[in-house]
Structures are given as C-alpha cells and as structure tokens.
C-alpha cells in the first residue's frame, strides 16, 4: 500500500491531463461536427448518401496508423496546407497538442456521426413536419425537437466518442508524437513504460484509465437518463 502512494506521489501526472483535455476537446468538436454532418447526410438521396457516408466513416475503419499517415501528409510543414497554416496563423500541427486533438477528433468523429445519423433516421418525420407547420424555424426544430428526441442515440455516440478519443494511440503517435508534458498521452505512456519493463507503473495507469472510463460513462448515463422519461422500458 505504501509503495502505491509513493508511486502516485513520484509520478508524472501530465499524461492524464493531456489525455483528458484531448478527449474533452475532441468530443466537443466531434459532437457538433457529427450532428451537423449527420443532418446534412440524411437529406441526400440514396447514392450521394452512400458516398458521403463512406468518406465520413473511413477513419473508423482504417487502421489508425493509416489515418495518421494521411494526416502527416496533409499537415506536415513541408506540405502546402501545413506550410500555409504555419505561415499565416503560426499554427503547427505536427508534434504539438493540436496534433493530439486533430488525431483524436479524426479517429473518434465517425462514432459520433454514425450514432447521430442512426438516431436521426429513427425520428418520425412528422415531428419535423409538425414543427414546420407550427412555424418553428429549422434551427429551432433541430435543437429543440430533433436532438432531444434523438437523445439516447446521441448520448451513446458521445460516450463512445469520448472513450475512443481519450484512448487514441496510433494516429496520435504518428502526428503528435510522444513528447512528455506536451503530447505524451496516457495510452502512449502505458506503451512506453511497458517497453521499459515497468509493469507496476503501467498497471497503475491502466487502473486510472478504467476508473475514468467508468465514471465518464456512468455520468453521461445519469445525465441523459433523467431526460429519457419518454423512453419506454421493454
């Protein structure tokens, strides 16, 4: 027991904060982007839908290292876009925290998008029509009728997105690298200490991750559960 407290004291806690921050920011971005994309895609005809859906889901299906490879290709400072971002906005993506967020967002976004889309498609179109005939604006219908009605699906999408974003490893290690205190995320730290043979530290981090994951899911379920009075048990 003493050794555990000692370990916790002497430990560098930065990976936890980096992962949490990355997870939260990537989830917020994916949330809005995912809802927006899902809303656009369900309005398209069948063929266009399949194409767009394929593109938007691709990052989830590809090995994360492949996604990381493409991100590197796009955002490297030796490439047009990377050069442009660096020159005009002084933004560097590679080997920065921004890279962590970008990698996590790209990998986790499809989970949000797909869940939101499935939830939207389940909605009775008459609800939207009713909103229109009552004179509600499209924005109002979306945020006050569609999103709350799709609540359970969107909530599960958000949970999965957060979990995936927080645990992202492959694309992050390629794009952002593992710079301690800067881009060194939890998953990367676990991999590193295991390579060093330090199973105690690794095990400690694994427990931390599991606790956080459980708390996050529990909290979101608790929050959304209250608003789900309209969901029937069966």
């Amino acid at each position: 027991m003493e050794s555990v407290t000692e370990l916790a004291k002497s430990l560098d806690w930065s990976p936890l904060w980096i992962s949490l921050k990355t997870g939260i920011v990537a989830t917020v971005i994916s949330f809005f982007l995912g809802l927006w994309a899902a809303r656009k895609v369900i309005k398209k005809d069948y063929r266009m839908k399949s194409v767009l859906d394929g593109i938007l889901t691709l990052p989830m299906v590809l090995p994360p290292t492949v996604a990381g490879f493409f991100l590197l290709l796009i955002f490297s400072r030796r490439r047009p876009l990377g050069m442009f971002l660096d020159d005009t906005f002084n933004l560097q993506v590679v080997h920065t925290w921004l890279g962590c967020i970008l990698a996590a967002t790209v990998i986790a976004f499809p989970l949000m998008y797909r869940n939101a889309r499935a939830a939207f498609e389940q909605i009775d179109a008459d609800l939207v029509f009713a909103g229109r005939t009552l004179g509600m604006s499209e924005t109002s219908i979306f945020w006050r009728v569609v999103v709350p009605t799709a609540g359970p699906g969107i909530a599960s999408g958000t949970i999965l997105t957060f979990a995936r974003a927080m645990g992202e490893y492959g694309a992050t290690s390629m794009l952002a690298g593992n710079i301690p205190g800067k881009t060194g995320t939890l998953s990367q730290r676990i991999a590193m200490v295991i390579q060093d043979g330090d199973y105690v530290t690794a095990g400690f981090w694994v427990i931390v991750v599991m606790v956080i994951a459980f708390i996050a899911i529990f909290l979101i379920n608790l929050i959304t559960g209250k608003q789900m009075k309209n969901v029937r048990k069966w």
């Binding site: 029509f129 009713a130 909103g131 229109r132 005939t133 009552l134 004179g135 009728v145 009605t149 029937r232």
Partner: protein
C-alpha cells in the same frame, strides 16, 4: 372560393391530380388508404413538394407553379393535425403548445395556458405526451394548432389512432372544440361515418383523382359511380340495363324494377344499401327479390343476413359476388322474430343508386 387547391404530383408509382375548391367551413375528403388523401393534405401544408398546380387560401397564394410561388410551411399559416398527433415527445404539454409561438414570454405562456384550459387540459400542462391518454393527446395537438391561429386546419385521419369508444366521444368533442374556429377545416378519412357527421362538402378520392364532390348529403344520396358508392358504404351492386323509360333491369339479381321517374341514359350499374331493404311476407310485390338466406351474423345492435337472389343469369359473376347483404336493426328484427324470415325483399325506388 376560400380554399382553392389544384394539385398535380407525379411519382414513380403514383399520380395525384385533383382540384379542391370550396367555400364550406367543414370540408371532407373520403378515400381508401393510398388514394392520395394524406398526400393532398401534405401538399396544402407545404410539407410535401408537388409537381405543379396552384394553392390558394382566402385569396392568399401559397403555391403557384406558374409564378414559381412556393411558401415555406412556416409561412402558410395552415394548421396540420397528424394522424399520430406528432406531439414533441421530450417537451411537456405546455411547451408543446408554446412551440409555435416563438420566443417564450410570460404573455405567450398565459395564452398557451388559456388554450389548454379551453381544451380541458388544466393540470396536465407539465405532463409529457407519453403520459397522456389518446384523447388527451388529441386535445393537446389541437390546442397546439389553435394557439397559432391558422386560417385553415387540416385533420389527417384524426380518429384512427383511438379505440372505438374514444373515437365516438372525440368526434363529438372535435366538433365542439372547433365550434368557435372561424376558418375552414379540411378532414381526411376513410370512414364515411366520421365524414358524414363532420363535413358540409365532400370530395371522394380514388387513385389520385376526385371522382365525386358535392354537398355531403347529396354525395351519399347519389354517389354516381360504383367506386364512390362503395366508399360511401354501399354493399350491394349489380349490373343494370335500361329497358324502358321507367324500367331498369338489374341483371345480376334477376329483377326488373319499375320506377316512377325517368331513368337517365348511360346507367351501367345499380347499387342498394344493405339497410334499405324492406321485408315482405307472402305475395310478391313489385320490385321484390326472392330472399334465400345463405348466412347470418349477429351484431350487438343489428343482424346481418346474406342471401342469394333467385334466377341468376347464366353469364352472371361468380356465386360469391352475387351474395347480397341485408342489415337489420333491432326494431325490425323484432318483427322478423315474430313472423319468421321474409319471403321477399322489396327495393325502394328512391334508394336505388343509379351508377355509371
């Protein structure tokens, strides 16, 4: 004309081409499912695109393909009550009613509460739609529409989601709730009873076309075509042929009826409502069919007899199609119980539907 709708819409497997023009306060559209009734309502409300035509309410053009006018549903000021009411499931009743009023203010809240009170929904304003009974849901949906003060209200099969007992009650209630509404109400249904009670003017729809329209009572009295007669509830049909100025041969029933009025040309069929036969015992009178019972069904308040006419002509339709229904209400049944089944059934001249 207060409502003037000329709607044309073509899809891969359906074509709608109808004209509905009426000054009546209560208009009905009668049709089977798939006849284009709901599509018509959706087109008027603007939640469904149409190919061409013109829609006008009280002189205000909502849609005109020639001038490329196409008001958004938000701008049409047409209330729409959906078949399943489409109450927003995550909002309380009060929020539902306030949904169409824009930014919530104390004044709008009061207005919504006022409306809920009028619809006897006091005390239920904080419930979710899922916690209401079917009748309460319908009242909430109507309150939500009425509070936006539409010029025209569209009712899409308003009673189909209710069970039988509630359906009768809500029909009366609906009339009551709409009593003070100054605009037009257009109700779509497949139920002739609902529309007979509700509408002053009736349009009968079949496969995307209006096959008959007119004052509701006139349409029921003289549907003019087999399809319209069937939709207004006529059960018995036969081929018919004019044999003289005042005689009509009902070929499938082996009977020639003598009329006092002149029969118009071009009659191909005749219909006769199941409730309208008059039982005759003993001697055959004019316009009588021999009553040969095949089957009988007992219902709570009436008895249904099915019988086959005598002398079916050799080229007649299948035996099953020639079975005629006779529905007897309790009063009449008492006499039958006393005297036994009749020998003949007489057709009243004014009840014979002449069809083209």
């Amino acid at each position: 004309m207060r409502l003037n709708a000329d709607i044309r819409k073509k899809t891969a497997d359906f074509s709608l081409d109808i004209e509905i023009a009426s000054d009546a306060d209560r208009i009905g559209i009668l049709g089977e499912s798939g006849s284009g009734k709901s599509m018509t309502l959706r087109s008027i409300a603007g939640v469904e695109d149409i190919s061409s035509g013109r829609i006008e309410v009280n002189g205000r053009v909502l849609y005109d393909s020639q001038t490329k006018t196409n008001l958004k549903p938000q701008k049409r000021n047409v209330g729409y009550m959906f078949q399943n009411y489409a109450l927003f499931p995550t909002m309380s009743v009060l929020k539902n009613v306030m949904a169409g009023l824009g930014k919530p203010t104390e004044e709008k809240r009061a207005k919504a509460m006022e409306m809920l009170k009028r619809f006897r929904m006091e005390g239920l304003e904080n419930r979710l739609p899922g916690e209401l009974s079917g009748g309460q849901q319908q009242r909430a949906a109507l309150a939500r529409i009425m509070v936006t003060e539409p010029e025209l209200i569209l009712l899409d099969e308003p009673f189909s989601a209710l069970d039988a007992y509630l359906r009768d009650r809500m029909q009366l209630e609906m009339t009551e709730m709409l009593k003070d509404f100054p605009g037009q109400v257009l109700m779509v249904s497949h139920s002739r009873d609902e529309l007979y009670r509700f509408s002053e003017e009736l349009f009968v729809l079949q496969a995307g076309r209006v096959i008959r329209h007119g004052a509701t009572a006139d349409v029921f009295r003289d549907p003019e075509s087999i399809e319209a007669a069937r939709l207004t509830g006529c059960k018995n049909f036969t081929r018919a042929e004019k044999t003289g100025d005042k005689t009509l041969r009902l070929s499938d029933w082996g009977l020639e009826v003598k009329m006092t009025k002149y029969i118009p040309d071009g009659i191909t069929h005749a219909g006769y409502r199941a409730h309208r036969f008059v039982p005759v015992w003993g001697e055959r009178q004019d316009n009588c069919i021999r009553f040969i019972p095949v089957r009988e069904d007992e219902l709570p308040f009436e008895k249904n007899y099915y019988f086959r006419p005598e002398n079916i002509e050799s080229d007649s339709v299948h035996a099953d199609d020639s079975i005629i229904s006779w529905f007897v209400q309790n009063e009449e049944q008492k006499e039958i119980d006393k005297r036994g089944l009749p020998d003949w059934l007489r057709l009243n001249e004014e009840d014979i539907l002449l069809l083209k």
